[in-house]
């Protein structure tokens, strides 16, 4: 859970920083997207790096989901008879929504790949025109897409708020002071990530990017 989760978080940060390049204009952004395909050349053939990264990410996502499924299954088996009276679990909202939140994030990732990688569902849908693909994707007329992206990214934020902290605990954090820092860091990292990601669709919405 923790190892695969942290790999995915590392990707999320790199991806977010890349996305922010959209604020430097169409040329820079399209060039960045092109550069991604050429990382590792000439040592590696064109786009090989990208496929290596995709393989690692897929393995991480599958490993993460397999571990989550095993945990959920064990939890169900460990309490065959439910409580008749069960107040809300006292843990945080983020902790309580890890399982369904994860499923929402997965559905989002599938949509997102069909939208901006394969361009199957993209209104512009021209390979190489990354800037225009994004700009038309979040055009005001397609507010429902922006809404879905927003909800999903907030879901990622909640998932990470508990996930990051929980991962540090899994790796053995044990001092009460470290606990306070870890919780605060998890919160800050999650908020930064949500704001960073959401800045792009909202910039398109208000016309900063068009």
């Amino acid at each position: 859970m923790a190892v695969t989760g942290l790999l995915l978080v590392a990707f999320l940060y790199v991806h977010m920083i890349g996305n922010l390049k959209i604020f430097f204009g169409a040329e820079t952004f399209d060039h960045y997207a092109h550069w991604l395909r050429s990382i590792g050349t000439p040592l590696l053939p064109e786009a090989w790096y990208l496929y290596i990264q995709r393989t690692v990410l897929t393995v991480a996502v599958v490993g993460h989901i397999v571990a989550a499924t095993i945990l959920a299954r064990r939890a169900r088996l460990a309490r065959p008879v439910k409580y008749a009276h069960r107040p809300k679990v006292q843990g945080s909202y983020a902790a309580r929504t890890m399982r369904w939140g994860g499923v929402i994030v997965l559905l989002f990732v599938i949509y997102h790949i069909l939208d901006l990688t394969t361009l199957t569902l993209n209104p512009n849908g021209v390979h190489g025109e990354v800037y225009r693909n994004v700009a038309e994707d979040f055009a005001p007329g397609r507010w429902y897409v922006t809404l879905f992206y927003t909800l999903s990214i907030v879901a990622v934020g909640f998932h990470l708020r508990h996930g990051l902290w929980s991962a540090v605990r899994t790796f053995g954090l044990q001092s009460p002071r470290g606990e306070v820092y870890a919780r605060a860091t998890a919160l800050v990292l999650s908020v930064v990530l949500v704001v960073g990601y959401l800045s792009v669709p909202f910039a398109v919405l208000v016309g900063l990017v068009d």
């Binding site: 859970m1 095993i70 945990l71 064990r74 939890a75 088996l77 460990a78 309490r79 065959p80 008879v81 439910k82 409580y83 008749a84 009276h85 069960r86 107040p87 679990v89 006292q90 843990g91 902790a95 309580r96 890890m98 508990h162 902290w165 929980s166 605990r169 899994t170 790796f171 053995g172 954090l173 044990q174 001092s175 009460p176 606990e179």
Partner: protein, 248 residues
């Protein structure tokens, strides 16, 4: 005060069981929760009914026997308090209180509120001890222990093995219990020889007994009558990681 209690009644382990409601009248606010059940049981016996079976022993918060979930919270609404130390003054006249047994596959119900917590003993048997012959109580200064370690070990050692952590955990995990035992021995010089095998074997026993896996929800520590801190689970994870690495 007059209250209503809705209690889990289950004839034996194969009975399906159901919640049943009883009126309890004229209870002193100074009575403990278990004394309230005693009063109810006296009435049930006089009426020729089967009294409610529940576990109890010390009634002073140190044995860990009084396992019951009160209004959905293991050991009831008072923080860091066992059910036997919970007093009726924390409830209001006319309250309707739900009482259920610990719910876990690893804690099968024997009758009514009594569950078999023997699986916690299996975890202990897998490594919750030291093999050094200890003899009589040794001279206290013979083995120096840093004050910080002694304090933390003592805090961990206050775990009374009640199982409330399991009852409260959304995953039905016994991690807080196991972590407390692993820490209390692992912090002491006498606990070092078996430190690695202890954490591996106790976790294995926990999984084998059908407890769930820990996902750091933190419910356990909230209901623990001894306030065992969640940070001990981090300590267990760290010990486990080191032990597994040494085995490679």
């Amino acid at each position: 005060m007059d209250i209503k209690v809705r209690v889990w009644r289950q004839e034996n382990s194969s009975d399906k069981g159901r919640m049943e409601t009883y009126d309890v009248k004229d209870i002193s606010p100074d009575a403990s929760f278990l004394e309230m059940l005693d009063v109810l049981n006296e009435k049930l016996i006089l009426d020729g009914d089967d009294p409610i079976a529940f576990d109890h022993d010390c009634r002073e918060g140190i044995c860990g026997a009084c396992s019951m979930v009160i209004d959905g919270v293991a050991h009831g609404p008072e923080k860091a308090t066992t059910a036997c130390q919970l007093h009726m003054r924390h409830f209001k006249d006319g309250d309707k209180i739900d009482v259920e047994p610990w719910r876990a596959a690893a804690f099968p119900v024997i009758k009514d509120l009594v569950v078999n917590r023997g699986n916690l003993d299996k975890i202990i048997a897998a490594g919750g001890y030291i093999t050094a012959p200890t003899g009589a109580a040794p001279e206290a200064h013979a083995t120096p222990v840093p004050k910080k370690d002694a304090d933390l070990a003592f805090e961990a050692a206050t775990c009374i093995g009640c199982g409330a952590c399991v009852a409260a955990c959304p995953n039905g995990s016994a991690m807080l219990f196991t972590a407390a035992k692993v820490a209390h021995l692992g912090l002491m010089p006498q606990g070092q020889p078996e430190r690695d095998t202890r954490v591996i074997d106790m976790l294995q026993a926990q999984d084998d007994a059908g407890f769930g896996g820990c996902t750091n929800m933190g419910e356990c520590s909230q209901v623990c009558p001894k306030g065992i801190p969640l940070t001990l689970i981090g300590r267990l994870n760290s010990d486990y990681r080191k032990a597994v690495r040494k085995q490679l």
